[in-house]
């Protein structure tokens, strides 16, 4: 079984929810398809959605909610089939 990652396209602060009251976009064990929103990056007072570029099941999160990420950093590990 191969493992792939979803990367943040931008540097900034990573969030798992659209706003503090919302449910997380995705959780461990969820199946995602290409284009699914899996998180949010806050950068320079603007918010950008992170989309999955592959299909798979979320194995685990590689960064915590509200942690700082770099551009190209791995955010989520996907378990492929």
């Amino acid at each position: 079984m191969s493992e792939r990652t979803i990367k943040s396209p931008l540097p900034g602060t990573f969030y798992r929810r659209a706003n503090p009251q919302a449910e997380p976009y995705v959780s461990e064990g969820d199946e995602v398809a290409p284009g699914d929103v899996v998180g949010l990056v806050e950068i320079m007072k603007t918010f950008h959605e992170i989309q999955s570029d592959a299909a798979g099941r979320i194995a685990r999160f590689l960064v915590e909610n509200s942690e700082l990420v770099d551009a190209g950093q791995d955010i989520i590990a996907l378990a492929g089939d």
């Binding site: 931008l10 540097p11 900034g12 602060t13 706003n19 503090p20 009251q21 950068i43 320079m44 007072k45 603007t46 950008h48 700082l68």
Partner: protein, 446 residues
């Protein structure tokens, strides 16, 4: 008043520190751990670290800032723009801690910060307001009023500002949908779900009037700034005078601005924003109770140093200028050089500035806290520099801005410089024939 704490960062912190120095006032800079290398930290007479990078833990942390004031022995606080500048509780906390707040009284900030109350106040002061609900509205009231004034309409958060918390609706269905969403968003963003409704004016221009008031009841206006070139309601280019005002409209608009400011006994620098429609009618939108990003445009055409006036007013001195001494000399244009990639939908572009060459020569002013080797942090707004150019007339101001932009080199990050060069080559901008939707429609057309 001897020592001013500057509760901000970036170019505006530097701008305030410069004004303090010219007036013989000591300055205290504050900074987050992300801003240790920032220029305002070095240029201030002393500096205090107020917390981690995220603004809510540093530049928005009232207690940390008040503590920095106590620790440094500051007796006044200048809030700059953004962050705590329009926070009435912060202004009141400064006052309660024996600190002079360089800005209006907390009561004025509070009234003008509630956009629905501000609208009522402007109307009762005899200033025209955009047709809409009388103050806060429920969904039923919004539907009734929209049916009466006609669609499209704008739904606005009462506690919003800076272009945030606004949605447009073209019909009843959209209005019903958006009211629910807008209330939720307003509650999450501003802690207040109250909404109000306004008619959406098409092809309108955003024109604002600068005012200064002192503690002795003196109040003057410093004419207008034209700010219609906006993207997602964020201004990108501002100029003064506006090409859209004739002498009669200018007189009426500045008089309306003074009436509104007088209605709250306004003290210090403030800006009253209007929408001007194609027929020359104008309507009050809101009042910004702080110094504006684009204030240098007014400084270049009037010769008044607005930030020094703010400090003098806070010291209790009468205004340094009388209305009959003020006039507009020539024309000025400001462009915002932001760390954004205009070729990728203005995607933020933080990072290290590896090389920096600033423009100069006649009529050119650059307000910036950037330097070669500076890391633009991802935590704050994307403004890297303001380029402000003066000319004897608008044509010369445009020529100078284009010349200065061509000299302006920023390497290592993407900036809006190429966008501004293209914008200033646009015939509509060159003739001054543009409105608030101009940039959105232009971007769509590309």
């Amino acid at each position: 008043m001897q020592k001013v704490l500057v509760a901000n960062r970036g170019e505006i912190a530097l701008r305030v520190i410069r004004a303090c120095r010219e007036l013989g006032l000591a300055s205290v800079g504050v900074y987050s751990t992300a801003d240790q290398e920032a220029l305002h930290v070095r240029r201030a007479d002393e500096a205090v670290c107020i917390g981690p990078p995220h603004a809510r833990e540093s530049y928005l942390n009232m207690e940390a800032i008040l503590q920095a004031a106590r620790q440094s022995g500051a007796d006044a606080v200048h809030p700059g723009y953004g962050f705590l500048a329009e926070n009435a509780a912060f202004a009141a906390a400064c006052r309660d801690n024996g600190l002079v707040f360089v800005g209006p009284r907390p009561e004025s900030i509070e009234v003008m910060g509630d956009k629905a109350r501000a609208r009522q106040l402007a109307a009762s002061a005899g200033a025209p307001t955009i047709p809409g609900t009388e103050g806060k509205a429920s969904l039923e009231e919004a539907l009734d009023v929209a049916a009466e004034i006609g669609y499209p309409v704008l739904i606005k958060a009462a506690a919003g500002g800076g272009g945030r918390g606004i949605r447009a609706a073209r019909d009843e269905t959209e209005l019903a949908e958006h009211v629910a969403q807008a209330a939720m968003e307003a509650d999450a963003a501003f802690g207040d779900a109250s909404l109000y409704l306004e008619k959406l004016l098409v092809d309108a221009r955003h024109v604002e009037v600068q005012v200064l008031g002192d503690a002795h009841g003196n109040l003057v206006h410093l004419f207008e700034r034209e700010c219609s070139l906006q993207r997602r309601r964020q201004k990108l280019l501002e100029e003064s005078p506006s090409t859209a005002l004739d002498a009669e409209t200018r007189a009426a608009m500045t008089e309306a601005a003074l009436r509104i400011a007088r209605a709250v006994n306004y003290e210090n620098a403030g800006t009253i924003e209007f929408l001007l429609d194609g027929g020359g009618a104008f309507y009050f939108i809101e009042m910004n109770t702080r110094i504006q990003v684009e204030h240098p445009v007014t400084e270049l055409v009037t010769g008044v140093d607005l930030v020094k006036e703010q400090l003098r007013i806070a010291r209790g001195e009468p205004l340094g200028v009388r209305q009959d001494e003020l006039e507009v000399d020539g024309a000025a244009i400001e462009v915002r050089v932001n760390a954004e990639d205009p070729e990728r939908s203005f995607l933020p572009s933080p990072g290290e500035i590896t090389a920096l060459e600033l423009p100069g020569g006649p009529g050119v002013r650059v307000d910036s806290a950037a330097f070669a080797g500076y890391h633009v942090p991802p935590f704050y707004d994307s403004l890297v520099a303001k380029l402000i150019c003066w000319g004897r007339d608008r044509e010369e101001a445009i020529a100078r801005t284009r010349r200065a932009l061509a000299e302006f080199v920023v390497e290592g990050i993407k900036t809006t410089i190429p966008f501004h060069l293209e914008l200033l080559a646009d015939p509509a901008v060159q003739t001054g024939d543009y409105h608030v939707e101009f940039l959105e429609r232009r971007t769509m057309a590309v």
